[in-house]
Each structure stands twice: as structure tokens, then as C-alpha cells.
């Protein structure tokens, strides 16, 4: 897939494994739209003493457009798609931490794995990760009021611990399984884990929905509310199918088991599992 859409946008090809961490928050179709080739190549992205520029780290080809493609795999590529508001940022390879941070729109496509704090503070747009994502997906960072507060994240693989920590709105779809403590301190939004939840999901969650195939271990402060045919699950499923197409999770069975919690807080959150 490399080199796709070359005519319609810029392509950055990593010359060699980066010698320092790179901050890619300035690389988005909107931010580069009015910059010359020289300005783009001169943009500082290095976070170390040498302060690498885009031109130092990447071979740059193509022209400005709605899509930017970054080819090259590296956990040192941080803040990929941070602040993205429109267009598409496609990364062929892995990314480091904070990808999609405070993203408000557009699409961030990661054809690889993502590091921790993917989608932290995100309020809009779509992030699609074809591999795994590490801890604190959609989580909160020091100084933030909330974690993820809108938009949609789809992870084809598994995700790490404490996904959706203080999440406010938005939807996280995980094809695989979540790590421990998904939905910790959650205030709203939805995490749909097709492969199920790891131990202790929803620790201190106030509101929000965790939907999945199973739970490894429930907290004792979650209570069984019985087997129900919930209209909102249908609405959610159809909304995701309409907006995500093939990326949408498979529909839940008609009846789900509703487990409410965390009763240690206001208990308006819920874990929905297939009802037996």
C-alpha cells in the first residue's frame, strides 16, 4: 500500500530509524496546506538536542492535498495526528505515544501498532489502528479535565490497560481484548470490546457503557441488573454500522446482561454482555 495517493498529497518516507523522538504534531494536511516545500522540509520535529527537521528525517515527495502518508515504522514517532482537524493522515508502520491527541476531525489511519495515550483528549474524527494499541487509550493526561471526549477509535488488535480513563464521550471499538481496568473513572462514552474485557473494567466509573463478549473478572462493586433487550444497543450498533461500515463491530445478540456500576460512585455506568 505504500505510495498510495501520491498525486493527492504529501508522502514522508523515513530515511532511517530516528535517532531521537520525533514530534509529528505539526504534520497534518491543514497545517501544511499553505507551506512551501522548503518550509515543510525545515519544520523542526526532533525533540532531542539535534532538533531534526522533517527534511532530515524523511524523504518528502508529492504535493499538498487532503492526505498525508508517512512511511516508516518507529515507536519514536510521537504525536502523530495530534490536533488533526481535517483530511487524512496515514501512517504505514508503528507510532509512539500520544497519536491523535486532541484530534478534532479527519481520519488518522495507523497501519501498525500505536503506543500509549492514543486519542487522549480527542473530541472528533476517526482513528483506525490495524494493530494493537498500548495503555491509556483515550485516557486522561495530567492537566486535562477529561480523557477522550468525542470521535471514534477502532483498534483491530488488542489494547492495553486503563483504556478510556476519565473518558467523557465518543466510542472506542476494539476487535480484540482490552487490558485491565478499561473504563476506569469513565464519565461517558462507549467502549465496545469484541474480544472481551480484561480484569476489573469500570473501576470508579460514573457513567458510560462497556460492551463486550466477556469479562475476565468483575469488580465487586458492580451489580447484575438482569437480561434485557435494550433499544439503545440497537441504536448504537446501527450508528456504528452506518459510520464505520466494515469496521463496525458485529451486532450484539438481542438480549444482553446489564451489569451496573461502579456502585462505589453514582453507579450509572454499565457493562453489557451477551445474555446466556
Amino acid at each position: 500500500m505504500s505510495g498510495q495517493n501520491l498525486q493527492n498529497g504529501l508522502t514522508f518516507r523515513l530515511k532511517a530509524p530516528a535517532t531521537e523522538r520525533l514530534d509529528l504534531s505539526g504534520v497534518s494536511p491543514a497545517k501544511l496546506a499553505n507551506l512551501s516545500s522548503y518550509d515543510i522540509a525545515s519544520m523542526k520535529v526532533g525533540m532531542g538536542r539535534h532538533a531534526l527537521t522533517l527534511g532530515d528525517a524523511f524523504d518528502i515527495s508529492g504535493s499538498n492535498g487532503d492526505t498525508i502518508t508517512i512511511e516508516g515504522s518507529g515507536a519514536s514517532l510521537d504525536f502523530a495526528g495530534a490536533g488533526l482537524c481535517s483530511g487524512t493522515l496515514r501512517i504505514i508502520g508503528n507510532v509512539g505515544t500520544y497519536a491523535g491527541r486532541k484530534m478534532t476531525g479527519g481520519k488518522l489511519e495507523i497501519r501498525g501498532h500505536a503506543g500509549s495515550y492514543l486519542a487522549s483528549g480527542m473530541t472528533g474524527g476517526l482513528i483506525h489502528v490495524s494493530g494493537n494499541a498500548s495503555d491509556n487509550l483515550g485516557g486522561i493526561l495530567s492537566g486535562d479535565r477529561f480523557g477522550m471526549a468525542g470521535g471514534t477509535v477502532v483498534v483491530e488488535g488488542n489494547i492495553g490497560a486503563r483504556a478510556g480513563d476519565k473518558m467523557r464521550r465518543g466510542t472506542i471499538v476494539v476487535r480484540g481484548q482490552t487490558g485491565e481496568g478499561a473504563g476506569t473513572r469513565m464519565i461517558g462514552g462507549t467502549i465496545w470490546a469484541e474480544g472481551g474485557f480484561g480484569p476489573a473494567p469500570g473501576y470508579m466509573m460514573r457513567r458510560g457503557t462497556l460492551i463486550g463478549s466477556k469479562v475476565e473478572r468483575l469488580l465487586p462493586t458492580f451489580v447484575d441488573c438482569g437480561r434485557h433487550d435494550l433499544v439503545i444497543v440497537r441504536v448504537l450498533g446501527r450508528y456504528l454500522k452506518a459510520t464505520l461500515g466494515d469496521l463496525a463491530p458485529k451486532p450484539m445478540p438481542l438480549f444482553v446482561q446489564k451489569i451496573a456500576g461502579d456502585m462505589a460512585t453514582i453507579g450509572k455506568g454499565e457493562i453489557l454482555l451477551p445474555a446466556g
Binding site: V231, V235, Y239, K268
Partner: protein, 305 residues
Amino acid sequence: MSETLKGKTVNGVFVDDTFAEAFGMSGTGIIITADSMKWAKIAAVTATGFGTSVIGCGAECGIDRELTLDETPDGRPGVRVLMFGFSPDALIGQVKNRIGQCVLTSPGSACYAGLDAPMKIGLGKAPRFFGDGFQTAKKLGDSRYWRVPVMDGEFVIEETTGCTTDAVGGGNMLIVGTDRAGLLEATEAAVEAISKIDDVITPFPGGIVRSGSKVGTKYKGMFASTNDAFCPTLRGATKSELAAGSLSVLEIVIDGLTSKNVADAMRVGLKAVTDIGAKKGVTRITAGNYGGKLGQHHYHLKDLI
């Protein structure tokens, strides 16, 4: 009856050269779903009941159409209802009361926005408080859905729906006949044809009005009174519009989200009646107006046949 009637005869039915005079209104759409079409319709019929005339009912309401499973947000059977009022503010109270009393209470029901428009009015904003603090919200895209715990599960209702001020109320046609049963049959056919036009309703019972009104009355405190010129039993006693032999007059009133919707509905209604023609005792089609001075929208029958 006036001796100088102008018009055109179509299949034995005389169509007056006159126009229906209609008014600008505010309109909204609401989708109501349930576990079955039967219960979606029960909720919708109840919510749109007592919604014939904005003057006495506060809003003019009706079922626009049945929806396919693909068209409803929850994939269940559903219908779309339309409500029309004098203003968006007037609609807010009507929507709140009708949904709160008639849809929230109906088994298995859910309620969603049925009109996509820049202006929004509350749909679930008030009914959600029935949840007494147990209600929760789910925001998906630009829509917020409230989940109100009720005794048969949850009542799901979208927070807002669209509202347009481009709506039109009062498109109409009066159908005159010499046979009451035949006239009713022809008028029913017109209502059936109009029901296939999207974005319009015929808010009166079964879509038909038998008590057309004129503006004004001899009594204080009333705004409208019987349209004596079209009452067959007063033919000799008042300045009648009816020819000898006219036994009955039925009216169809049409509200639509746009002026074009109303014109389209009148067109198919007129066609349905003239297709049946004189064989069912239909003699004439005319329309109600106020001389063109009150309503902003004029629908000339000659342009629609």
C-alpha cells in the same frame, strides 16, 4: 350558486378556476418506533390525536408514512409523524406534551428526530426528567439519546428534532357531489393518493373535513363558524355556492413541510378525484380562500390538473 363560474370540466367533474389559500407555518418531524408496527402506529395515532386544527388543538398533526426497518434508528418498525404549529415556540409545548403523554407511555416505544433541519426544538429534553435521575444519555455523532427507565424496559428518546419555518398549512380542496357515499369514496381515494406524497399530512379525521369553516361568526368569542355557503341544507336560505342537486361537500386540508409538498399533494388529490369522476356522483371541485389577502401561499386548481 354563482351563474358566472369559470373553470374546466375533467371527466365529468367541474374544476373551479379558483385557488386554495394557505399559510406559512412551522413544522417538525418525529420518528416513533416500537416492537411492532401495530404498537408504533398506536403510539403515533395517540400522539397525533386531537391535532386537526391549529386554532383549537394547538397543533396540526398526522402520520406522514410508515418507515422501512432501514429507515429507523433502531431498526424496528416505525412511522414518521409531522406536527405543524404557528411558530417553533408553539410547537415546543405541543411536542413535549404529546410525546410525554402519548409516546413515553406506549409499550415498547422509542422516539427519534424525524426532520433534519438547522433549527432544533426539544424532543426528549423534557420527557427525560420522567427518569427521576435514573435517566442516562448516550451521544452518538451529533445526536444525544436519552434512556429513561420505565416499567417495560427503557424509553429511548433523542434530545432534539429539526424544525422548519418553511412549512405550509391549509392547502385544501372542496369536493362537491350528489351522492354522499360516492363522494366519500372519491374523497377517500384522494386522501389515499395524498398519503403517498412524503412530507405532507391531512390532519383531519381520516384526512377529511365535513365542517369547512368561514372566518368570523355572529357570536362573541369564536373565530370561525360553519361555511354556510357550502352547506347543502342552507342552499335556499343563504347565499349558497352550491348548485341544485348538490347533496354533500367534503374538504381535504393539507399541511406540508414545504410549499412544493402541498402543491404535489393537491395535484395527486385532484387527479384521484377526477379519475373517479362523475360516476360516483362527484360534480365539482373547488377550494377555500380568503380572497388572497390572508395566506402567503396560493394554489390555483387550474395549475394542478
